[in-house]
């Protein structure tokens, strides 16, 4: 009896611990035009950018990432967004211009990342985060047939209260120190490089004295790791505000959760043959609250 209880407890804890959990990707990728790719404007220029692998199976192979994120550091603005999306958009738009093709572009125009995710939407990959001074602004892009939901909101930055730990490891040749925090329902561990004087990291992370080169929640559902620090001239582009009406974080968060868990219901899909909509998918939002 005792053995059985222990087995059940262990099985439950494995499920709850998220050992098998992954960031959710569902729905279809929004069209580039509705995202406003062609209408982006240059708001700053970055001379340094840090690239991050999101949930890499093999850190050396981009094709095993969910996303390749980039933190571009300008004089006034820092931006975190998806490099895969930018590269794919650039190529697809060029191709459309060249061929005069309208409508969807072939799947082959998706550059990088796990092939099975190429036509899927994820709230993390399809959102851009801008940091100006002490303000963070998210441009949240919603999946196909839900672009009307595209929204933006602002909140104070930095958001996390970190506790420094006396552990170190080397990432990308930089000595990094450990820091921990609890943020919106999850416990995070970050490794920051004090000798890279950029006060930021992937997604909304920041507030440590140096660039965050690796960060993950303790369940390791979400893991970002820096894969490159590059110098150059990078234009920091911003979507047009008119396509991303102002909203609140709470509202955006709720809607992102809704589309991630139950895409077909959320877009109002009904089967002509009367088929029921598929059941909700278990979704592990990065922000639990």
């Amino acid at each position: 009896m005792n053995k059985r209880i222990i087995t059940i407890i262990l099985a439950l804890s494995a499920v709850c611990s998220g050992a098998v959990a992954q960031p959710k990707v569902s729905g279809r990728v929004p069209t580039r035009e509705k995202r406003g790719y062609d209408q982006q404007i240059v708001i700053d220029t970055a001379s340094v950018r840090v690239l991050y692998a999101l949930n890499a199976k093999d850190i050396k192979d981009e094709n095993t990432y969910i996303d390749l994120g980039k933190l571009e550091v300008g004089r006034r603005v820092k931006k975190y967004s998806s490099e895969f999306i930018d590269l794919s958009d650039e190529e697809a738009v060029k191709w459309k211009k060249r061929t005069g093709h309208t409508g969807y572009v072939p799947k082959s125009f998706w550059i990088g990342g796990r092939p099975e995710l190429h036509e899927n939407w994820s709230e993390l990959v399809f959102s851009d985060y801008f940091i100006r001074g002490n303000q963070l602004k998210e441009y949240a892009c919603f999946p196909l047939w839900a672009e009307r939901e595209n929204s933006s909101y602002t909140e104070p930055w930095p958001l996390m209260q970190w506790t420094l730990a006396d552990e170190q490891q080397t990432i990308l040749g930089h000595r990094c120190q450990k820091a921990t925090c609890r943020f919106r329902g999850r416990d995070f561990v970050a490794w920051f490089a004090a000798d890279v004087p950029i006060k930021g990291g992937p997604w909304k992370f920041g507030g440590l004295p140096g660039c965050i080169l690796k960060v993950y929640d303790v369940q390791k559902i979400y893991v970002w790791e820096a894969v490159a620090i590059e110098r150059g001239t990078y234009q920091i582009m911003q979507y047009p505000d008119k396509l991303y009406p102002k909203s609140t974080r709470k509202s955006v968060w709720q809607r992102q959760k809704k589309y991630a868990e139950d895409y077909l219901n959320a877009i109002g899909w009904t089967s002509l043959e009367g088929k029921p909509t598929p059941p909700k998918i278990h979704f592990e939002p990065l922000e639990k609250e």
Partner: protein, 906 residues
């Protein structure tokens, strides 16, 4: 009492140890203004940050922390100031930090396999990922990039394909002379090397006309843009032999050493790259054996200009090359001066001017021994020892206008070339005939002088317009080329005490014009039909006169005066099926080809007209995003050429006299087929290609060789002949993160079959060639870089029935180069090279060694080269062609040492 006192002291000490320390102050710039930064505090020597604080608008910060450390490191950090540290005692205090504003240069790092990033048809090679400490210019780094191959001539191939365009910041400043860029643009100024696959340079054709051309674009770092940079190098040295001379040496000074003291080298390179203007102006000169003229090689032409080829089959017999790297045998006094300028008044328009001047005095020393087949029962043995001097003066000017917009294209290129070059050769020839009737022709002293000036001018105009979905292309090119050349030969027969002198004058003109227009029609998005009309005219005026030669009986004509003209009217038609993954093209051009010959000496005037058909079929299939298959087949027929219409003898060289007139025009049918497979994966940094080629030609004439003493008399004979060749070749390269290594392998096999007519007998000739090799570069430690290259080749050729007697010629070259980096500024390189030839009588392994030390200081770069460490003075190479054996001995530049200093003027 004591116990209580001690307890109290310990308690106080513990309290003190854990007491909070407060450090506050300001972080300001040199003007006292607050700086946007954050301040950290860490115990000295640990690197563990105890606390941190941001600065406010005035630069004020306040750190509160607890630590038992005696000494602390307080660091102010920010992207605009970098990291500024102060070591302070662990006590509450005020600490103001002054940090100078400076753009921090973070070191670029990457763990991804994507040292090469793929973005659609563009591959981006990160220069920082491939650059090693000793690399100075971008050409040094290109050689390390997998998939990219830089040949000895400086030509660049990507995955086996020659590049068709080379851009710096998307502008084609150098018009094909990209050696100037690869050898002079600093590697540290380039951020990315981009390979542009399927490159269509005409904007309005992008997406309409697919190409499989490849181009390279250098993306510069910001710091290299918009600033004038002038780099200078001066150097000098000595060599272990060769005496001291200023100016040129007489040919008959009796010295056979390559090079002379003092050695000197110099260069001044000016560059400017901005959005609307680019310029590259440079001078380079040396007598150290460095062939700087290679930098002026035009690897492609920006526009399809008319071909100009004035008839001149005359030349000198010179010491032939050694097959070794040119630097070992090149005895030179080279100067190149070039100016390349590009203006871009708006985003679609470019104006360019390219001027290049090359001056050289090249001396060659060598001995060649020939063992030639004359007939089944006799052979001709010759031995020639020669010294030559070539004077080179080449001037090339090109001006161009280019309008390349989304809605139209227009280009005009004006070219002017002039050379005033000459060769002088002094030699000693001994020859004898062996076999059933041996004859010793004795020794002859031979002096040759060849004056070979030439001048050409051409203009090419091209415009393309869109008419709806269709495209109209108009192209016109015209040019003129003139060669007034004279070859003078004096032969003193030392055996018979006689003197012979030959003089050959060749005055050749070529006027050429070509007009073509085409109209492309797009049908149902996947078909494209191209129809065009082209017209071309080639007028060859040939006047020759030979003096001193006694021709064989039956023909005593020693001069020619004729006009040989060809006119061509062609209907071009091609049918193309194209989808993003597959394109198939069928070409069916028809050509009405007319030739006229006006021979004023033979008073012979006639013309021929032929209808020619050149069908071709080609296919490109993109099997996956990284794998392509291509195949093609073609047939063509050429009729007549100026080399086959002269009835008077012309001296090709002092040992060969030729007349090519036969009543019937030459007709050559060419058949060809090829298949190939190419693979590239940017993620795996893996590139590979393999190809098979087949060629067959069928000629109605063959050139027959007869020997009069050591002199061959060559005549075209009306006798059909067939030649075929088959070849398969492949190469692969892969970059690894492991030990920063790159590996390349290549291989190939070729078989050719042909016929030779010697002394009225026809011989079937067959030649097999095999070659393979590879290169490996890796860095086992941060302080060591190793490059190993090896190449093996074997040729086996024979005439039918003599296969068993044939010998195999095997050669192998191995080179190991090791670079050691004892400090960040010092690079020591040691290289050893073995050249092996199995037929060389002595010294089959010729070993060479070279050493280099480079020291990079703040404002200057110093370099010391020690070349030919083992002081090899001669190198012998043997060639065997199945019928003939040639042994060539070349003199080599002795051991030498050269020091250079390199600095930036601006």
């Amino acid at each position: 009492m004591y116990k209580r006192l001690i307890t109290t002291i310990l308690a106080l000490a513990a309290l003190t140890a854990n007491a909070q320390t407060v450090i506050e102050g300001t972080v300001t710039d040199s003007l006292g203004h607050g700086v946007d930064a954050y301040v950290t505090v860490a115990p000295k020597g640990t690197g563990y940050i105890l606390g941190f604080a941001d600065t406010d608008a005035k630069g004020y910060y306040k750190l509160s922390f607890k630590s038992t450390a005696d000494t602390l490191v307080v660091t102010a950090a920010g992207l605009s100031v970098g990291n500024v540290s102060r070591i302070v005692a662990n006590k509450s205090q005020r600490l103001n930090i002054r940090a100078n504003q400076r753009a921090i240069q973070l070191k670029e790092v990457s763990v991804r396999a994507q040292k090469i990033r793929q973005n659609g048809d563009t591959l981006n090679y990160l220069v920082g990922a491939y650059q090693q400490q000793g690399d100075r210019v971008i050409g040094d780094v290109l050689k390390r990039m997998p998939g990219i191959e830089v040949s000895q001539s400086g030509g660049i191939k990507y995955n086996g394909k020659s590049i068709k365009k080379f851009y710096v910041e998307e502008m084609d400043l150098l018009q094909g002379r990209y050696g100037l860029a690869t050898n002079n643009i600093n590697a540290s100024d380039v951020a990315t090397v981009q390979v542009l696959e399927n490159h269509q340079p005409v904007k309005m054709l992008q997406g309409k006309e697919l190409t499989d051309d490849v181009a390279i674009n250098l993306k510069l770092k910001d710091s290299a843009k918009g600033t004038v940079a002038v780099n200078t190098m001066l150097g000098g040295g000595i060599q272990w032999a060769g005496g001291w001379h200023i100016g040129s040496r007489p040919l008959d000074d009796g010295q056979i050493v390559i090079g002379q003291n003092p050695l000197w080298t110099a260069e001044v390179v000016g560059m400017y790259f901005a959005k609307r203007r680019q310029n590259m102006t440079l001078y380079k000169g040396n007598n150290t054996g460095d062939d700087v003229s290679k930098e002026l090689t035009q690897h492609y032409s920006s526009i399809n200009s008319v071909s100009l080829y004035p008839f001149c089959p005359t030349g000198t017999v010179m010491p032939s090359g050694s097959g070794l790297p040119q630097k070992r045998t090149f005895d030179n006094h080279s100067h190149i001066l070039t100016m390349n300028h590009l203006e871009k008044p708006n985003k679609d328009t470019e104006l360019g001017l390219n001027i290049a001047y090359y001056n050289d005095r090249i001396r060659r020393e060598g001995n060649s021994v020939g063992d030639q087949f004359i007939s089944d029962d006799s052979r001709l043995l010759t031995s020639e020892t020669m010294t030559s001097e070539t004077k080179v003066n080449n001037l090339n000017v090109q001006a161009r206008y280019n309008w390349n917009a989304q809605n139209g294209f227009l280009a005009n290129v004006l070219k002017f070339d002039t050379n005033w070059n000459s060769d002088r050769v002094d030699g000693l020839l001994s020859s004898e005939r062996t076999g059933t009737a041996p004859v010793n022709y004795g020794n002859n002293r031979v002096r040759q002088h060849f004056d070979r000036p030439q001048l050409s001018v051409s203009n090419t105009f091209n415009t393309i317009r869109n008419i709806g979905k269709n495209t109209f292309d108009l192209h016109f090119s015209a040019g003129y080329f003139h060669r007034p050349n004279t070859l003078t030969v004096g032969i003193d027969s030392l055996l018979q005490g006689t003197q012979t002198a030959y003089t050959q004058d060749v005055n050749s003109h070529h006027i050429a014009g070509r007009f073509n227009t085409s109209y492309g029609i797009r049908v149902a998005d996947v078909f494209r039909f191209n129809y065009g009309i082209s017209a071309s005219a080639n007028l060859h005026g040939i006047v020759t006169d030979l003096d001193g030669f006694t021709p064989p009986a039956g023909n005593n004509q020693l001069s020619n005066d004729l006009w040989y003209n060809t006119y061509c009217l062609a209907l071009g038609q091609s049918y193309k099926y194209e989808t993003p993954d597959l394109d198939i093209t069928l070409g069916l051009p028809l050509e009405l080809y007319t030739q006229t010959l006006d021979d004023k000496i033979r008073k012979n005037k006639h013309g021929y007209t032929h209808l020619l058909f050149f069908p071709s079929l080609s296919m490109n299939w993109s099997i996956t995003r990284d794998l392509w298959f291509n195949a093609g087949a073609s047939y063509s027929k050429t009729v007549g050429d100026p080399g086959g219409i002269y009835s008077g003898y012309i001296m090709s060289n002092y040992r060969a006299f030729q007349r090519s007139y036969v009543e019937q025009l030459s007709e050559t049918k060419n058949y060809g087929a090829n298949v190939g497979l190419r693979y590239r994966s940017a993620i795996r940094a893996l590139f590979a290609n393999v190809g098979f080629n087949y060629r067959r030609t069928h000629d109605n004439q063959i050139y027959g060789y007869n020997y009069v003493g050591a002199t061959s008399v060559v005549q075209a004979v009306n006798q059909p002949t067939t030649a075929s060749s088959y070849s398969v070749s492949g190469e692969a390269s892969k970059g690894f993160d492991f030990l920063h290594s790159t590996i390349r392998v290549f291989g190939g096999y070729g078989l050719s079959e042909s016929e030779r007519l010697i002394s009225q007998s026809l011989y079937q000739y067959r030649a097999h060639n095999i070659r393979f090799g590879g290169a490996l570069s890796f860095s086992p430690f941060e302080w060591l870089g190793v490059v190993y290259t090896s190449g093996f080749s074997q040729s086996f050729s024979y005439t039918e029935g003599h296969r068993d007697e044939a010998v195999r010629v095997k050669s192998n070259t191995k080179r190991l180069s090791m670079s050691v980096y004892p400090t960040k500024t010092l690079t020591l390189t040691l290289a050893a090279e073995d050249n092996y030839n199995n037929l060389t009588a002595e010294n089959r392994h010729a070993w060479f060694g070279d050493a280099t030390a480079k020291l990079k200081l703040k404002h200057i770069d110093l370099e010391l080269q020690l070349n030919n460490l083992f002081d090899q003075r001669q190198y012998t190479r043997v060639n065997y062609s199945g019928l003939d054996i040639y042994t060539q001995t070349s003199q080599l530049r002795p051991r030498n040492i050269i020091g250079t200093i390199r600095f930036k003027l601006l």
